[in-house]
Amino acid sequence: MSGMALYLLMVHTLTPVIVVYFILLNGAYLALNVLSIIALQRRSREAILDSLPQVYSGLEPPISLLVPAYNEEATIAASVRSMLQLSYAELEIIVINDGSKDSTLAVLIEEFGLQPFPEAYRVQIATKPVKTVYRSLRYPNLRVIDKDNGGKADSLNAGINASRYPLFCGVDADSILQRDSLQKLVRPFLTDVTMVATGGTVRVANGCTVSGGFLTKVGLPSNPWALFQVVEYLRAFLFGRLGWSVVNGMLIISGAFGLFRKQTVIEVGGYRPNTIGEDMELVVRMHRLLRQRGQRYRIEFVPDPVCWTEAPEDRATLRNQRIRWQRGLAESLASNWGLMFSRRGGVPGWLAFPFMMLFEWLGPVVELGGYFFMAFAWVLGAISWEAFGTFLFLAVGLGILLSASGLLLEEMSFHIYPRRRQLLMLGLVVVVENFGYRQLNSWWRLVGLWRWLRQKESTWGAMTRKGNWQRKV
């Protein structure tokens, strides 16, 4: 067989493979979308209960809020102050200063009147040494753990060790929480004794107005990078996670805001240190080990927008974030292979894990490979312009459909962008993001995969924060 014939054979074999992959990928997401619509319809039946007077007794299970902090001197005081105002009956806040090199600890000591406290610290999960435990003189429910640097996972483990309550909630120091966010996140624990974790929806805070540490007015960012991420977050949370939650197959709970049953987390060994995606790794490991034991459990997603976060507004920071996320995903899957197609794997092992492998982990390889391959094939004359155009039409058309369905879910459920101009802008972003932004994202994810393969040591993610919401306080 001549070289040209071999080349044409390859083109004709790979073309359908790439087309089928794109159809399968988007078809799978659309299936999740359908599940999400069902869940949101069910929730809309519950929504009437939200609009009615609530039966809160103050007897809900107490919660420990764990706030790992590394070099957060600029934002930590405002964040903790807003957390102290959360509406929940019994709550303790534990800030874990992970050997910050700036004056994070000094700011906390000054702002909250911290004093060293002779805490009988118990080690349930091994961590880097704890230097001092502080307790606030002004706020009895606030403690600060000052420890040697060990990363975010290590900090969370130290927080778990110091926590008193049966449920703990990991929160990023820069998250903006809704005042009733814990009440919403704890609800599944009240009605289901097998509940081991719940995750909340995270939304983009850029462009919103924040006052006193709470979000008071929802707006859209003017920065295009942040604007693209608004639509991305809608897709990721409203049908990515909600869809999987319906079938108890959710593999990710955002580290920005997730509630866990402490005993279960301790039993599976806590957060794995030296990982980038410690939030996802823990959830995948919980699925793997609880299924191995044959223990009944549920991990649920709460679709209400309960947590807001500042999205990167420049290309370099966004690139770094996406590279880290992809490395985190790869680490989480690679360290829990045992879940895939395991005898007791159920939905997480037989559907969610393979889905993540095929479409999220390998996704950037096939997606970018597909684009490059088709483009080369067209340039070299192996396929016609019509064929190449058809491929682009399919890829972009399905991308727009997915983003549009995310927007529909938002409109059906929470309707948090009520102005006509906001809707038009989001509609525009739904289309425009498919011409460059998504492909760029795939490239960054590919870089993330490459770095994971090189196994570079993980550290705290450096994030350039504008902190506009802080200045509006």
């Binding site: 609009s51 007077p53 007897l59």
Partner: protein, 351 residues
């Protein structure tokens, strides 16, 4: 090389790709249309709700102050659900006479009849609203329908029906529902405690009776509910629970051990094999214990479980006859004991 176009092997796939793309485009258009329709409907609903609130809030506010107007504004049937939601929020924020005045308005608008109709034939949202309305209006004629609703599997709707029944007749609700209540696993303890809090004395005998017939597996939650309501169990029943084989039951019963008669059994559980029992025994010994119990609690200061050490230290620190220096010397022999005692004393000093 001439452009080959769609070759035979990939032609079909590309045709499939084309039609999938066309389908995606058509679906996107449909979604856009649906978003516009949803947005228009939401806007209309918002305008209507706003108009209703503007009209009725002043009337209801005046009614709460005892100034019920002779002529009420017209209330369109389609605004009824929004009106009832507003009415419920106001009901929830008031007590006594103001609540009765709101009921007067509701009776004049024949909300009771409407709520009974919705409870019998409405969708879930309507049934939930109707349940709450009938509870606040203490509408006895809806008793059977509410009882049926309380027995439904729907957790949220059924617990609200229980609430309504308690509002209408707490004693009858206790007689009818004490046992089913203890048997249900889906009603959150926290919400049950809130609902029963004001009628705890009325419910006390019925719950104590039901405790005798409920399945053993439900006993721990039942006892936790009684503890949340701060109810006193008859001594005979409490002793039976404290002598139960299941450590979960014993631990839950120890939360109710507040009288001196229970002291011997509390002491007996200090060395229980299950640490959850030891924790509760140590906690109970705080208010109940005397000098005799100091060595027992001192032993628990060196327990292998942090929570047992902590509760034992708290119990010792709460004994009125021990001073901080004595407490420190009690814990001096063991590092864990000394650490936990230092923490508890620091907490006491900071409180």
């Amino acid at each position: 090389m001439p452009s080959p176009g769609f070759r035979t092997t990939s032609e079909l796939w590309l045709e499939v790709a084309w039609w999938v793309g066309v389908g995606a485009l058509a679906l996107t258009m449909l979604i856009a249309l649906q978003i516009i329709v949803l947005r228009m409907a939401a806007r209309r609903r918002q305008v209507r709700d706003h108009a209703m609130t503007q009209t009725w809030r002043p009337v209801l506010n005046a009614a709460m102050l005892g100034e019920v107007p002779a002529n009420l504004p017209r209330l369109a049937a389609r605004d009824m659900m929004s009106f009832l939601t507003l009415w419920l929020h106001l009901q929830q924020s008031v007590r006594g006479a103001a609540g009765q005045e709101l009921n007067t308005i509701a009776y004049r608008l024949q909300c009771d009849a409407l709520a009974r109709r919705l409870l019998a034939r409405g969708n879930r949202a309507e049934r939930v609203v109707a349940t709450l309305v009938l509870g606040h209006m203490q509408d006895r004629s809806a008793w059977d329908d509410l009882l049926r609703e309380a027995r439904e599997l729907d957790s949220a709707a059924s617990i609200l029906a229980l609430w309504a029944l308690v509002q209408i007749d707490a004693a009858q609700a206790a007689d009818t529902l004490a046992l089913p209540l203890l048997r249900r696993t889906d009603w959150p303890l926290a919400q049950l405690a809130t609902i029963l809090q004001e009628q705890r004395n009325t419910w006390e005998p019925a719950l104590a009776r039901a405790l005798g017939t409920v399945e053993p597996a439900r006993l721990p939650d039942a006892l936790r509910l009684l503890a949340a309501l701060r109810l006193d169990l008859p001594q005979a029943v409490l002793q039976q629970m404290l002598g139960h084989d299941d450590p979960d039951v014993v631990a839950a019963a120890l939360r109710l051990a507040t009288s001196p008669e229970a002291l011997p059994q509390v002491r007996a559980h200090i060395a229980h094999a299950d640490w959850r029992v030891r924790v509760q025994a140590a906690r109970a010994l705080g208010p109940l214990g005397n000098r005799e119990d100091v060595p027992r609690l001192q032993e628990l200061l060196a327990d292998r479980q942090w929570w047992v050490r902590y509760r034992a230290a708290q119990a010792l620190a709460s004994l009125p006859f021990l001073r901080p220096a004595e407490l420190e010397s009690l814990a001096a022999g063991d590092r864990f004991a000394a650490d936990i005692m230092r923490q508890v004393l620091a907490e006491q000093a900071a409180a």
